[in-house]
């Protein structure tokens, strides 16, 4: 039996529930009396002065330290144990990179500071731009987007701009997306004003090529695709797909969420992709921070948009590109020009994750990056061998094919036979001290459990995880009611999500909760 674990549990009140001690937790001085006198008091416009004190308690520093330390102990990250969330690439986040990325000589730099005073950082980011272009086989990268979905937005806005500059925007209204895609793909397409056309996945795990052929037409602006797919399968007809799309003057967009499964073996640029985004917080090891920050670098091939005006795709991507000026020997930021999408956030980009990626790539070199992909892929296929034959679990699509960075198991048979669902399997994994897989995604797999170990997980952990799945299956078939009690080793037991969402009980902040308790909300 897999040893169980016990998560810390503190009955920790909310910080706003601590009694106000009238202390300011941060030791800051008051303004010198002479200065107040010289200025002559506050002169704000009528009605703009705060009258109600801010309702946040004033606490001794140690209270704050203990409070958040305790909350951290009721959380779980890669530093705590395996987080094999599919499509999330939760690899080890090296502290070496943390030390460098949070250096004060980065943290203290104002984004509008004179370029001559940030040359060291600009050089690092310039090098990173170049490395990422080579890793993806693209010609230019913008480090501007703040997250994967933000990179997607950058990409689809670039597609939009491409057709706009060619005078075809009236016609090019649709983005084609496979049914196995991340939810961000269709959402990003909508944000760029496109309609979404969904194409199905074939039994072999590839996009249904015939269906794609009939979906592509004059209205097709582009195709967004993840490769390897969310099923962990390499899209085998990618070259034909690219040709098909290009024949209709549609652009190919590469969702880089799964790059970890082919880095060093295949590059989106070589496959025919025009635009690609990368998730720095996945493939390039910057930590996910409990939800962010990330960085969603967007790269393009230098495809010609308008020959007469000399416009290329690299003129369209948003953000600042770092260029090296031979004459002065200085690195400079190139502002988005007249053909560019412009800016999609203020200032340069999420520099701390970007520097993290710089350290990661420098540490591993091209040899190490290719090894990363090899080991991520070996881990997946090793795990598959260990769980093959676990009763109630199946691996749909692409029978017999090697998976890349991840595999999707279906607990559909288990649920049918025993009533134990994918979500309950997930909770059973939590009880053994593992973070659960991504559940119910991709949508095309019933009772999906999407598992991605990455290169960072040891064989022993992969084996224990597989063993726990075997145990869960056994329990489901023998005593399914036990599964209903999971999780019981986490800091709280099963949560009431319906109550969390219900209009009569929904409490998004403490003040709304208090108003509700006082009966002020219907």
């Amino acid at each position: 039996m897999v040893e169980l674990f016990r998560q810390a549990k503190w009955n920790e009140p909310l910080i706003v529930e601590y009694p106000d001690k009238g202390l300011v937790g941060l030791n800051i001085q008051r303004v010198e009396a002479g200065i107040v006198e010289k200025v002559g008091g506050l002169k704000m416009p009528k009605g703009m002065m705060r009258e109600t004190p801010i309702n946040i308690p004033n606490l001794p520093e140690v209270v704050v330290v203990r409070h958040y330390t305790r909350l951290s102990q009721m959380s779980y990250g890669v530093d705590t144990g395996p987080v094999p969330l599919g499509s999330c690439t939760m690899k080890y986040n090296p502290r070496l990179a943390w030390e460098i990325a949070f250096d004060n000589r980065i943290v203290a730099l104002h984004p509008l500071q004179d370029e001559s005073t940030v040359q060291g950082l600009l050089q690092m980011l310039f090098e990173l731009q170049k490395w990422l272009a080579n890793i993806t086989g693209m010609d230019a990268c913008s480090l501007h987007p703040a997250a994967g979905a933000h990179g997607e937005l950058a990409g689809v806005l670039t597609i939009r701009r491409y057709h706009e500059l060619k005078g075809n925007l009236g016609l090019k209204r649709e983005i084609i997306i496979p049914d196995s895609a991340h939810g961000t793909n269709p959402a990003s397409a909508s944000m760029a004003g496109f309609a979404t056309i969904t194409v199905p996945t074939g039994e072999d795990g590839n996009v249904d090529f015939e269906a794609l052929k009939s979906a592509v037409g004059d209205a097709t602006a582009g195709l967004m695709i993840t490769n390897p797919s969310t099923l962990g399968l390499f899209e085998e007809r990618i070259i034909e797909i690219a040709e098909l799309l290009h024949n209709h003057d549609a652009l190919l967009y590469y969702d880089g969420a799964n790059l970890n499964g082919m880095m060093g073996y295949a590059r989106p640029g070589d496959m025919g992709f025009d635009i690609a985004h990368l998730n720095i917080h996945k493939t390039f090891s910057s930590p996910h921070g409990g939800g962010g920050p990330g960085a969603g670098v967007v790269c393009v091939r230098d495809r010609i948009v308008d020959e007469r005006r000399g416009v290329r795709l690299s003129d369209l991507i948003p953000g600042f590109i770092i260029v090296y000026d031979d004459k002065t020997g200085l690195y400079k930021l190139r502002e988005p020009g007249p053909y560019s999408v412009g800016l999609i956030k203020a200032f340069f980009g999420n520099v701390i994750p970007l520097v993290w990626a710089y350290v990661y790539i420098a540490s591993l070199g091209p040899q190490g990056l290719r090894k990363v992909a090899e080991h991520a892929v070996m881990a997946t296929n090793y795990f598959i061998k260990l769980v093959e034959g676990v009763k109630g679990l199946e691996i749909p699509f692409g029978r017999g094919r090697f998976r890349k960075h991840e595999v999707v198991l279906s607990a559909s048979k288990l649920a049918e036979d025993t009533g134990v669902t994918a979500m309950e399997v997930a909770k059973g994994l939590l009880d053994a001290g593992f973070y659960a897989p991504t559940v119910y995604f991709p949508l095309i797999v019933k009772e999906a459990l999407q598992v991605e170990f990455t290169e960072a997980e040891s064989l022993e952990n992969i084996e224990r995880y597989a063993e726990r799945l075997r145990e869960i299956s056994k329990i489901a078939y023998e005593n399914p009611e036990i599964a209903k009690s999971w999780p019981s080793n986490t800091s709280v037991r099963l949560i009431d999500y319906v109550r969390g969402d219900h209009p009569k009980t929904v409490s998004p902040t403490w003040r709304v909760y208090l108003r509700r308790m006082r009966g002020e909300l219907s």
Binding site: I15, V16, V24, I28, V31, I35, V39, K43, P45, M48, R50, P53, I56, M74, S75, G77, T80, M90, N104, H110, P111, Q113, D114, G120, L121, H150, P186, A187, I239, G264, D270, H288, G289, G290, L343, A346, F348, G349, N350, V351, A362, L364, P366, Q367, G368, L369, A379, N381, F402, V439, E455, L459, T490, R493, I495, R499, T505, P508, T509, L521
Partner: protein, 474 residues
């Protein structure tokens, strides 16, 4: 295990693990696992190694430290910090904030999809939402957006969704011009007409008369930033929001959280949506990011259901016995609603929200007030000092918070030259804004925070005075 060729970040890179995995999988070598990649696009090792990636070989930890040191040494950390804002400001970052966000349980966690094992993180984000709600006097706050500008852009899209059929949105000329560019990029595909409302050249306030003239029944929302881009505390926020409400438009406020220690919060001024930059709440400047987009609304389900981004809510365990936290109202989000989602945002700035929570908890209501006062007074002291040396520091009559324009038109000196002369003295001056506002000519925006002591301000004034004497054309 024989040749130690592996890498410490690749846990299976020892010989024994490799041998075992290949044997169990049933392949001779690892390349076989990639054999489904068409030949034409499959990279051979030697070709991959020819590419300019990293430094051509793996560097040791010590080599990387040395390399980084060489690069970082060429960044200049100004002491005192730059006298520059423009939307983000050099504020004090308490070590406690960095310590807490560096704890691995928080730093290396994913978005809390599995709530039962992530309660601490979720409570911390719920606290962030609750603390921001107090500071802003708003009710519902999301778990974060990328930054102020993108939060504002999403607010514009949201206003158009809430007020279905309306296509205009009013933006003041006094808002941050960088934010305006971001709004333009987001709004463009949706055919939203962004209409600029002018400002009063004397006060530096938004021109209410112009607002009255431009607002109509087709206006989805009205935005006001206070303090505005000039640092000026807008005087007509409440009136502008009343005008918006009269026409059924949403009132959107943009705020600088530190200023709210002294200024009336957006909730009290009638805002339906408030956005802002959380950078000042303990985040550091980070040369552009990560920052923290604040997004808040009043408790009105018509608004809440159209909000972008994740929200953590307070609930209980299923047995009802204990308080618990969960991600709520997820049917708005991309992973469920896909193309019909309120936004495409997935990864946000959760760690930065945690930082802001720790910061707000540390300062408390009283600390925030003190800090705001210090910012206000130091900036006003600086204004007097710079006036004394003969600069025009009253480009606008309206009172300001911690930032104000300094005009070099009267002394007839190109600001670029002043800027460079300051750099030579080891000081970094304000932000040139003549490009955004040609009517202001050679004008720079100077910002002062608790990081600029009275002595620092005196030093700046002395340095500028010397520069004026030297460069002055008279």
């Amino acid at each position: 295990m024989s040749n130690h060729a592996g890498h410490p970040w690749i846990s299976t890179s020892d010989e024994e693990s490799i041998e075992k995995m290949l044997r169990v999988i049933g392949v001779k070598n690892v390349e076989e696992l990639f054999s489904d990649i068409p030949d034409k696009i499959r990279l051979r090792l030697e070709d991959w190694l020819k590419l300019d990636i990293g430094f051509g070989r793996p560097l040791s930890e010590i080599e990387v430290r040395r390399l980084a040191e060489e690069r970082l040494r060429r960044n200049i950390v100004f002491n005192p910090p730059p006298f520059m804002g423009g939307g983000v400001y050099p504020h004090y970052v308490p070590p406690l904030v960095k310590y807490i966000i560096s704890r691995g349980e928080f730093l290396t966690a994913y978005t809390p999809y599995q709530a039962e094992i992530s309660q601490g993180l979720m409570q911390a984000i719920f606290e962030y939402q609750s603390l921001i709600a107090e500071l802003l006097d708003m009710d519902v706050v999301n778990a974060s957006m990328y930054d102020w500008a993108s939060a504002l852009a999403e607010a514009v899209l949201m206003a158009v969704r809430v007020n279905k059929g309306r296509t205009r949105f009013l933006l003041p000329a006094t808002m941050n011009p960088i934010h305006k560019k971001v709004v333009e990029a987001y709004a463009r595909p949706h055919g939203i007409k962004l209409v600029e409302v002018g400002y009063d050249r004397e006060s530096g306030w938004l021109d209410l008369e112009d607002l009255k003239a431009k607002i109509d029944e087709n206006t989805a929302g009205v935005y006001i930033q206070y303090p505005n881009f000039f640092g000026v505390i807008e005087g007509g926020v409440k009136e502008a929001f009343e005008l918006a409400h009269d026409k059924g438009a949403l009132a959107v406020a943009g705020v600088y959280p530190i200023s709210l220690g002294l200024l009336k919060p957006p909730g009290e001024l009638g805002a339906d949506i408030a956005v802002g930059e959380g950078q000042s709440l303990g985040l550091g400047l980070n040369y552009g990011g990560p920052y923290l987009g604040i997004f808040a609304v009043k408790y009105d389900m018509r608004l809440v259901r159209q909000m972008p981004g994740r929200i953590i809510g307070l609930t209980t365990t299923k047995d009802g016995g204990e308080r618990a936290f969960s991600m709520i109202l997820q049917t708005r989000e991309q992973h469920i609603r896909r193309e019909k989602a309120t936004s495409n945002i997935c990864t946000n700035e959760a760690l930065m929200a945690l930082a802001a929570a720790v910061y707000l908890a540390l300062l408390g209501g009283e600390g925030l007030k003190r800090l705001a006062e210090m910012n206000y007074y130091h900036a006003h002291y600086a204004q007097l000092k710079l006036e004394e040396i003969g600069l025009n520091t009253k480009v606008f009559k309206g009172d300001f918070f911690n930032e104000f324009p300094v005009s070099f038109n009267e002394v007839k000196i190109e600001y670029r030259r002043v800027h460079e002369a300051l750099l030579e003295k080891g000081l970094h001056g304000g932000l040139y804004i003549g490009g955004y506002y040609p009517e202001l000519g050679e004008t720079a925006l100077y910002a002062f925070t608790e990081m600029h002591s009275v002595g620092d301000i005196d030093k700046l004034a002395d340095s500028l005075s010397e520069i004026l004497r030297r460069l002055g054309g008279g």
